[in-house]
Symmetry: C2
Subunit: 408 residues, 2 copies
């Protein structure tokens, strides 16, 4: 039998595949999963927040009443009653959203993939926040855009600093207005109004990713970009944070002309999202306990967020600052400029605590002295212990990098 | 408020999206779903073959024993016990398949999408059978390859007629060796041996799509291409035909160097396949009744296939021929050359019966006098009535197109 050339050289890969890099984050998350580690790394919901009993009751009903519907091939657009329920809920936001504008996706990660597929050619300009959600960068990067980071501060994108030429040329601007991943920041109303006006003026499509919008802990969120400009926005939503990520049910809302293409891309991607999981999302969304479930999650996460903020204030040395999110799952810590959070990660791990270094959330120019902390997954006791350990690791590193100051 | 440019002109779409065309097949299948129509059109399993009771029992157990595992985020590779069970089952075929070679996908449609994404650049040559599976063409077409149809006959691809230059240049050859969609034909052992030898000689990657391999009604299938050349084949499998399509659980098996890239593409596509549906597939694959379930499906479909063949022989006029599949879901009918099956579709619909015109299964040069009939979905009574009606429609059209012959 003829002997083979080594496999790596055997097939010519597509250019986009040659550019794909193994995710360092993935390796890092694997380490963070070790049972001896207190992890603030993964963006996971609390296991205690999963509505297991309601799902168990619902799946029983679905397989009794609609087994063939749930198990046979289904429409690529998604399960009609689920699309109707999503449209009705989003229409509370002001603008009327029709079920025909809603496409069910296999998690909102797939929505990002479809948006990239339909809108991005190699070299197309794509505008993003600084920092921004890594999963979005990974999904869109497959279609080989030229990313451009837009000026952002503690409140998010700064509309008056957006480059007019970039806006005119760009295929889309990707933004998470509510409790952004990784920073936890929320784009204020006046910036939303300004952003929408600019987008309309320049014919720029806004891709509004809103997986955390329901997780409000103080005040209310400003109106969505979708509600302000339904003809200019593709809006992405998810049930991963309020029901369960393992269902892999998300959705997008798009203007009609884009919907046609997004639907064709969806059909070619996986035909349709699983019938059972779509019906489970529908059952939980409409069983009358959905808002109560969200309230229970808010109560839990609000307390965990407050506790983490309290522990940070107690333990962190001078020169460390952090965001105070009004919702979501994450807060963002800025370290003194001399601390590289990737190096700190190793120290912290040795002390039994994990986070995500901030460099992971920049498409272009990483800032090394930042990190993301998730406050939803760990228990209160773990939060207390973990933040204390993390502060020790930071202090040790500050001590190590500035020995002269330490004795002054 | 400024008035908008009409939506279609507002955003610049990616080139691949501009080329996407609405699926005529989709419209056609919608018509075929009307309750007054006997449909041989869709490629659906029989609703009577869905293992509803076993799924109900399994989902109950999963949510009792492993709720958090099923509902939380999971690994992109898939649920490890499912990968192990698939590898063990495939290893029965001769070659040892390791779980690390198995990637769980959201239906095997997603596997096709991932293969295209990792291997196809615009203009890359991709070799296909004539006719071939439409869903594969749609998935791969998104990556803008130059398709080339390979010489095929009633037994499938003809290895000795394959173009050597084309094989050397091509990124992949897509083939369904068992009970092919749409023809029902099976590639004989000697052709498999020749094909594998040629692929190795020219460094051509074979993409072996095998959704119907378990649905054997007479004899046995030859060894898979995977078992003959695991280093040269990406093998796609599915639970859609033997458990339920609505689960959206499929898989691919790939050589290690490709797996790395396919996994990265999977992660960017939808993070992972739903936890519940993967565990359901695993539960049914390993509960000891899987082979009995397959036997029951075979028994049903074998009878329906035989009945359709009998009805065709009874009712069809001279000049109509059809394949005699040894398994699968489809048979392929060739009409007299003067009959256009797209026109016949309208006549048949008026008589209350539907099929898929054969032109839908050609990427390049459609042959108009062919059609695909599905024998799995309709009941025996519907098969008898439907084939009789279809024969009437064909006779009427032959009569209409050849009035002189009719009186001779």
């Amino acid at each position: 039998m003829d002997r083979h050339i080594p496999p790596i050289a055997r097939w010519q890969l597509a250019e986009r595949a040659q550019r794909m890099k193994p995710s360092s984050l993935r390796e890092l998350l694997k380490v963070a999963e070790r049972p001896d580690i207190i992890s603030f790394a993964g963006g996971l919901p609390s296991p205690y927040a999963l509505p297991v009993e309601r799902l168990r009751a619902s799946v029983e009903q679905i397989l009794q009443r609609d087994a063939v519907g749930a198990l046979q091939y289904g429409p690529s657009e998604g399960y009609t009653p689920l699309r109707e329920a999503i449209a009705a809920r989003l229409s509370r936001g002001g603008a009327i959203i029709r079920p025909a504008q809603v496409l069910i996706t296999t998690g909102s990660q797939q929505a990002l993939d479809l948006v990239g597929r339909v809108l991005i050619d190699p070299g197309s300009r794509v505008l993003i926040e600084t920092p921004t959600y890594l999963g979005a960068v990974q999904a869109l990067a497959q279609y080989e855009p030229a990313f451009r980071e837009m000026p952002s501060d503690g409140a998010g994108l700064i509309p008056e600093c957006l480059d007019e030429t970039a806006m005119r040329d760009a295929r889309l601007l990707y933004v998470q207005p509510n409790f952004q991943n990784p920073t936890g920041r929320t784009l204020p109303l006046e910036r939303r109004i300004a952003l929408v006006a600019q987008a309309r003026r320049h014919g720029l499509l806004l891709v509004e990713d809103d997986p955390y919008g329901e997780l409000v802990y103080s005040g209310t969120t400003p109106p969505s970009l979708l509600s302000m400009a339904p003809d200019d926005v593709v809006h992405l939503g998810s049930f991963s944070k309020v029901i369960a990520p393992g269902l892999r049910v998300g959705y997008l809302v798009a203007p009609e002309a884009l919907m046609i293409k997004l639907l064709q891309a969806k059909q070619a991607s996986d035909l349709h999202t699983a019938g059972i999981t779509q019906r489970l999302a529908h059952a939980l969304l409409t069983d009358g306990e959905y808002d109560a479930q969200i309230d229970a999650i808010r109560l839990r996460y609000r307390a965990q967020c407050a506790l983490m903020l309290k522990c940070l204030a107690e333990h962190m040395p001078d020169g460390v600052s952090w965001t105070r999110p009004a919702g979501g799952m994450f807060l963002w810590v800025t370290l003194p400029p001399e601390v590289d959070s990737a190096e700190l990660f190793e120290d912290a791990l040795a002390r039994g605590v994990a986070f995500i270094p901030g460099a992971s959330f920049h498409a272009l120019a990483p800032r090394a002295n930042t990190m993301r902390l998730t406050f939803t997954t760990a228990t209160p006791t773990q939060i207390e212990t973990g933040i204390a350990r993390l502060a020790q690791a930071i202090k040790a590193r500050l001590h190590a990098t500035a020995p002269c100051l330490a004795v002054s």
